[in-house]
């Protein structure tokens, strides 16, 4: 890879340890994937925040970088392992909280915004069409590439941090137009009637178009929250973090002629539910907000729980960003949801909180949430916001 004089100086350690280490990561990745040069990025989203995943070694790594590492571009943060303010109410141990706070302190010293959300595009980190960014968090990467038309590879935590300290990323993969061409035509003949159907669609397409870029037709209309859910699911279940959706996403006006074609029927959606859902009726945790709930979703939840009460023995969590929660506070949604016994889980979610062994079963709107909760040994049910609120109120899943 060709480096400018300034980049070479960074690699030689002229800007300190964190920048040198970052340049080592970026040039190695560039060489592996055949990048010719580094390109400037407009923003960075950093994953690898939960102490549950990092452990003491990860914390030590971040502390070493935080000594002289300062971000050069707008950099936002993925969810942590707990609500940074309200962790006690969510049953997080003080030992975990102490470690998690040390992780957060390291990120603060680097100059990163402690946004702790997987939806950076909803809280002020909104890339433009065609803009190069370096994001981790697969659902946000897919949203940025597909819905916004920005350009990013699927970074890991360290490579995203490296891009933030240098302000650049190696130009390969999805940064190059020749690698952003659709590979398979996905024709959707199914009717999507509720939010979780979009997660089911993501499952079906992810499995059928594994590791491919799809060009999707047959979608009549889509809303922000539906696309947010679809992005999380399609990449979790196997697709590349980029798709085109005719009539919905940018760059999809001209339908390309593709040899490979996949058809999604109503039966594929049903099949997705059958695979994601386990045989369980008692629900111990209802968690919505994977990806994090938008303010619109919070308003829907408030309307659904108004005047109701969460069942004894069941917890109802609304995972969202602190930014969305602050809007909900002002509008009174928070009060309504908390009066019904619901809890806000800001800054965190069911995929990264230390939940193993705490709950045996989960109901959620999210296909991705089900995938990660199985790793936490929970049995899962996926359904609409209404079905999830019913499960919270009755403690049971109605098939």
């Amino acid at each position: 890879m060709e480096l400018t004089k300034q980049e070479q100086a960074m690699l030689d350690g002229k800007e300190g340890y964190a920048v040198r280490k970052s340049m080592e990561i970026l040039t190695a990745l560039g060489d592996i994937f055949g990048a010719k040069n580094l390109i400037k990025v407009g923003s960075v989203q950093v994953a690898g925040v939960s102490y549950h995943n990092l452990g003491d070694a990860g914390l030590e790594f971040l502390n070493e970088l935080a000594v002289d590492g300062r971000v050069k571009v707008l950099t936002t943060l993925n969810p942590a392992g707990m609500d940074l303010e309200n962790w006690q109410q969510l049953g997080i141990s003080p030992e975990f909280a102490e470690k998690q706070n040390l992780v957060i302190d390291a990120f603060k010293r680097m100059g990163i915004l402690i946004s702790c959300t997987c939806t950076p595009y909803l809280i002020g980190n909104l890339p433009l069409y065609g803009e190069h960014v370096a994001w981790s968090e697969s659902s946000a990467v897919t949203f940025a590439n597909s819905v916004l038309g920005a350009k990013t590879n699927r970074e890991g935590g360290p490579s995203a941090l490296a891009a933030a300290f240098v302000g650049k990323t190696p130009c390969y993969g999805l940064h190059l137009d020749e690698n952003r061409v659709p590979e398979v035509h996905v024709q959707v003949n199914a009717e999507l009637t509720k939010l979780s159907d979009w997660g089911a669609l993501g499952y079906a397409i992810g499995r059928k178009a594994e590791n491919k870029i799809s060009y999707i037709t047959g979608i009549k209309s889509a809303e922000l929250d539906e696309l947010k859910s679809f992005c999380a699911s399609v990449v979790t279940y196997g697709a590349k973090p980029l798709f085109y959706m005719k009539g919905v996403t940018p760059g999809a006006d001209q339908q390309p002629q593709l040899k490979e074609k996949v058809i999604i029927e109503q039966s594929d959606i049903k099949n997705a539910y059958d695979n994601i859902n386990d045989d369980v009726s008692e629900i111990e945790l209802v968690c919505v907000g994977c990806p994090h709930c938008s303010i619109k979703e919070i308003s829907e939840i408030a309307e659904l729980v108004q005047g109701k009460k969460v069942a004894d023995g069941t917890e109802f969590w609304v995972a969202t960003s602190r930014t969305a929660k602050q809007l909900a506070d002002k509008r009174g949604y928070t009060q309504t949801i908390e009066a019904a016994g619901g809890k806000f889980a800001c800054d965190t979610c069911m995929a990264v909180a230390p939940l193993k062994g705490r709950f045996k079963s989960l109901a959620t709107t999210s296909a991705k949430g089900c995938f990660y909760s199985r790793q936490n040994l929970m049995k899962t049910k996926m359904g609409s916001m209404k079905e999830c609120v019913e499960a919270a109120v009755t403690g049971k899943w109605n098939n």
Binding site: E24, I32, A47, D56
Partner: protein, 128 residues
């Protein structure tokens, strides 16, 4: 004595006994960071320790958190002494760099057998 050339992922010198698998490795969830023992069910190396070995495998797989797992192993003293890949990918490359584990790829790994005494020095593998 035979020498094989490869591409440097992370420079350095390492010597040890080769542990070879034809299967990709997921470090996050697939290897115990405290002991270096492979945990993945159905994996050729299941139950074996990669600690202190020159680990020879095609490439990494799974979650990008795997890079941090390698770093944890290095700090715990359970990391491999060196790694040789057929075709290195992001997770292992980043893990090798942040953990400073000598690693190379694009090596004709078929020439290496488990138990061989081998050393890595920058872009060269030497089989004793």
């Amino acid at each position: 004595m035979e020498q094989l050339k490869g591409r440097i992922i992370y420079k350095g010198k390492a010597t040890g006994e080769a542990l070879v698998t034809e299967m990709p490795i997921s470090f996050y969830g697939g290897v115990d960071p405290n002991t270096g023992i492979v945990l993945e069910k159905g994996h050729q190396l299941n139950g074996q320790s990669i600690k202190g070995r020159i680990l020879v495998f095609p490439q990494g797989k799974g979650s990008t958190v795997g890079s941090y797992t390698l770093y944890r192993m290095k700090k715990n003293g359970s990391a491999p002494a060196g790694m040789i890949n057929k075709e290195c990918e992001t997770i292992v490359a980043v893990g090798a760099i942040i953990s400073e584990i000598p690693t190379i790829d694009k090596v004709d790994v078929c020439k290496i057998r488990t138990g061989d005494r081998i050393s890595i020095e920058n872009d060269t593998v030497t089989i004793a």
